[in-house]
Assembly symmetry: C3
Homo-oligomer: 209 residues x 3
């Protein structure tokens, strides 16, 4: 298995895990099976889709390879079937989701650099890829997007994508760079959850007058 | 009137009906006339627009033919004028909406096949075309998208687009295929409403512990 | 300073002001600093981004010039720092926002005409540019979009973009046209706020039966 296959394998694990968290979010809103599939799909591929629309990177991955979309739909439906077990797996899911976040951020940065765009744009697109699936999921489920007010999540995407772009700039070998970014991004997210690291929140209220 | 004109005529009826249901949704939220027009527009053309952005099919229909957008805006405003009568027309609207759903699904699949994309992508795009106008309408109106938890709606789009793609694959003559898809999709939706057919819903709650 | 530099300067003032109103909206929802930055960004550049996606105008401005995105992020974070002062500046912000609305509408129309699209499409894109940043902000913050039910806002965008397209059609010199559109659009918005001009609202309720 070479580098590209390795990252694709991790990406597939990531989108399937995201599909399952999307399905659970739909279940909390008591959606029907179709809602479960759609929310699962947008959670899994929403971030990459927004990225590719913004940078004009056609065709979209899941349109060129519709088999990924089918796998995502199956994963979402499977979640319904195994829902009683899911609550015992919530820790496992946090771990897979942390890995997925790191992978998505790296892939987002990588694809943007491959198009010859500005390194800063690559960092932004890493964040978009890591974060926007969850944002669209929460909008479809009428929730305030989690990533805007919970433990470090987008910050992990920013760190991971930023590190990848930096190492690319320093011409570090790609396999070493991948290892570092995925490892450190993954650890950072797990630590953020365990230590309940959060960013400061901004409370703003107009004064009464 | 040839085949293409026939389906365009049905499409125009469909987008005007969707514009009117969008206007009513805006009215339930007591929006002003501008909100009525915008929600009417996104309801009518949102599904096709999302599809064309996803498959990179430029220019968008309503940008190449802005007269459709004007007609949609007029239909939305007209809805305000005739609102007192609208509640007596709700059955008529369900019927037109059912026809529109079938037409949108067929057109979505047809346009995707015409671009040479995978037949499965064509089915997905049929569903996107049929369903996403309503999803965006509900998000703009701060409602949980109806299509995620009501009678078979997206499932009708899936059936209709799937049947169209299947008949296309079997090289059935287009006029016969259109007749079958529109007729059966339309009937399926009407039956779903009358018999209150629904998909199973997924209730998920984390256990207290 | 030539014409293009002048309008770019006004545009920068406009996006920075929008970034700050986005940050305040995030603060009302007690988002964390990352949420503040993201909501600030989508408020500032959401309208132009939606426009460019719809007309296929790649690359997006903030991707070709990522320094604007950085400035927006800084403005959003700065807003948190100076929040205690912000409530005394609310009038100033209404004025800058009114200017920004006029500038965004003109730019939206201008860019669309420059692509050789239909003048009516240019008017629509002026409105999209002026309005959709606020729409996305409100959706991210789980509010009913303000522009759908408050004082004339979208109507000002429609007037400004319409006037620009009309003057362009009449071959009025661009500098005179810019002056007229920006001046009148700005005044129109200020008057709408002061006199509390609103569009009629549409109240629709299904009858009980």
């Amino acid at each position: 298995m070479d580098e590209a296959q390795f990252i694709t394998a991790l990406w597939v694990v990531g989108i399937l895990a995201e599909a399952m968290t999307g399905a659970l979010a739909a279940g909390r809103r008591q959606m029907d099976l179709f809602g479960v599939v759609i929310v699962g799909c947008v959670t899994a591929i929403g971030g990459g889709t927004v990225r590719d629309l913004l940078i004009g990177n056609y065709p979209l991955v899941w349109i060129a390879h519709v088999e990924y979309l089918l796998a995502i739909a199956v994963a979402a439906l499977l979640t319904v079937a195994i829902a009683p077990v899911m609550r015992y797996l919530s820790r496992l899911f946090l771990v897979i989701d942390a890995l997925g976040l790191a992978v998505f951020s790296v892939i987002g940065a990588q694809k943007t650099l491959a198009l010859g765009l500005n390194p800063l744009v690559a960092v932004v697109m890493g964040v978009v890829t890591g974060v926007f699936g969850g944002v669209i999921r929460d909008i479809f489920c009428q929730s305030l997007p989690l990533v805007f007010h919970r433990e470090l999540y987008a910050a992990v995407a920013l760190f991971t994508a930023g590190l990848y772009v930096l190492l690319d700039h320093l011409k570090v070998a790609t396999d070493l760079s991948l290892l570092l970014c995925l490892g450190l991004g993954f650890l950072f997210r797990l630590l953020a959850i365990r230590r309940r690291w959060t960013l400061p929140r901004f409370h703003y209220q107009e004064s009464a007058h």
